[in-house]
């Protein structure tokens, strides 16, 4: 009796699942949809200082937030910010629930299989945060237990880095909560915490007990996540990024967060946007 009901549920679930995954086969360009509604939906995180986070007054601020506003203004659409996390920044694009994702997404080939990316708009590296004085280079962390954010690109990158140097598969503890990961590092549960340097710098700001190791194991190139196979929309976004670079808006936003006097952390510009004539 229960088996029958169970099979019923199973069938229903598979139908639902296949119906939903076929939602990515739409041929209409995102551009048409956005032009019709006049609203561009941008997926941005809210747990990732200083790129996109909630300040102590609960306001949604950050580099990614400012960039979203600039792009929306330039393209002439109304901005609608949609909260995403490390899972939904991609799945919402696939399901066409957002028109682009500005969510500190490292451009990787495996992600390219699921979605498309704009040109790189941010340059960084991934190193380790350690307790001050315990290690001198990231190679010394091979064989140690380390922490990373669940789903971060630091995990496969570190595994590859260790494998290249002949170490055995590393112990990586995956945390949902950045602060818990930091606390685990402070308490001695893990020896290092790997993330984008920009995140690590902002988390460790002002804490003399934590230090960032030099170098890194994963060069980071953030791209704006875009729906797959939609070149007209992608062109629009790329042209917008280039214009923002050329007219100085990008530099202004970057300066506000990373190089100017009010900056939260110190991160000199690590690259240059490609400009097409």
């Amino acid at each position: 009796m229960k088996i029958r009901g169970f099979v019923l549920v199973l069938t229903a679930a598979s139908i639902v699942a296949s119906a939903c995954s076929s939602g990515t086969d739409e041929a209409d360009s995102t551009l048409t949809g956005v032009e019709q509604s006049g609203v561009v939906r941008i997926g941005v995180r809210n747990d990732n200082p200083p790129m996109s986070f909630l300040d102590d007054r609960g306001e949604w601020v950050g580099f990614d937030v400012d960039l979203s506003r600039a792009i929306a203004d330039l393209l002439g659409f109304e901005l609608k910010l949609v909260v995403v996390d490390s899972t939904t920044r991609i799945s919402f694009l696939q399901a066409r629930r957002v028109d682009m994702s500005i969510a500190s997404m490292n451009h990787t080939r495996s992600r390219d299989e699921a979605i498309d990316f704009s040109i790189t708009y941010f340059w960084d590296n991934q190193s380790f945060l350690i307790r001050t004085g315990t290690y001198r280079s990231i190679d010394e962390l091979i064989g140690q237990t380390v922490a990373a954010n669940a789903g971060s690109s630091a995990i496969p990158s570190w595994r590859a880095y260790v494998a290249e140097r002949g170490g055995e598969a590393p112990e990586i503890v995956e945390f949902d909560d950045k602060l818990a990961a930091m606390q685990a590092l402070r308490d001695g549960a893990v020896e290092g915490y790997s993330e984008d340097n920009i995140t690590l710098l902002s988390l460790a700001a002002g804490d003399p007990g934590l230090a960032l190791l030099p170098g890194g194991h994963n060069r980071v190139q953030f791209g704006i996540g875009l729906p797959a196979d939609d070149s007209s929309w992608r062109d629009q976004v790329n042209f917008a990024l280039q214009e923002l670079w050329q007219d100085g808006t990008y530099a202004m936003i970057y300066d506000r967060w990373f190089t100017g006097p009010d900056r939260i952390i110190d991160l000199p510009l690590g690259g240059e946007m490609e400009i097409w004539p």
Binding site: F6, L10, S91, G151, E171, E174, D176, D187, A189
Partner: protein, 246 residues
Amino acid sequence: MRESLTPETVSLLLAGLTLTIALTVVTSITSFVVGIGVGTLRLSANRLIRSAAGTFVEVFRNIPALIQIIFWAFAFPSLFPADTRMFLFFDNSVMTWLTTATGLSLPYYALAACFGLTLNTGAHMAELFRAGVGTLPRERIETARLLGAGTLALFWWVLLPGGVRAAFPAITTRLIHNMKNTALASFVAVPEFFQTVQASITQSFRAVEFLTIAAVVYLLLSTVMAGLLRRVDIRLNRGRMHVRPD
């Protein structure tokens, strides 16, 4: 869909499922024991013990399981001075033995999750057990006393079996709920099944498929648990006349 079910993904999910089952078994036993213990204290003649146990039950029933788990895993260690934490929670012989036995890099978080689940489910079970004992006919207890049963014998031969039998359907529901609550351990870096499902989603970008797999697996787990516990229920009540609500 077939492409995303790589051998690594499957073994990751299986490892997570094993941990979920282990957590369920461990916390079912510990919460049952706590439930009987505290439930009995709730029946004590001593007023102080009764109200202390009552406070325990109310506190750990009314605070969400998630909050309790996060508290024991992440907040609790910060009560201790910074230099002792490493030794107390992460780097001692007990933890090292646990790591080799279970393969978990940081067993403390799993222990904390188990502790939180035990207290929460145990508090619920205490109340169920107390209610179960309450349905026992007075004559049974009075007869036992007349036959010379001391308090311990009374407990062991009359109250305990009687209370558990009476409350068993409700205990079954609560134990299955406890199994579902093991998914909350994913919030505190415990790589149980729900966490491994989330990890597979971020690696393969196929959210709906893996979520469906997760739903099917949890349904299977709860159906199997219900079936097993129903068998236990039948065995417990063999040869007895018993009016039970459906």
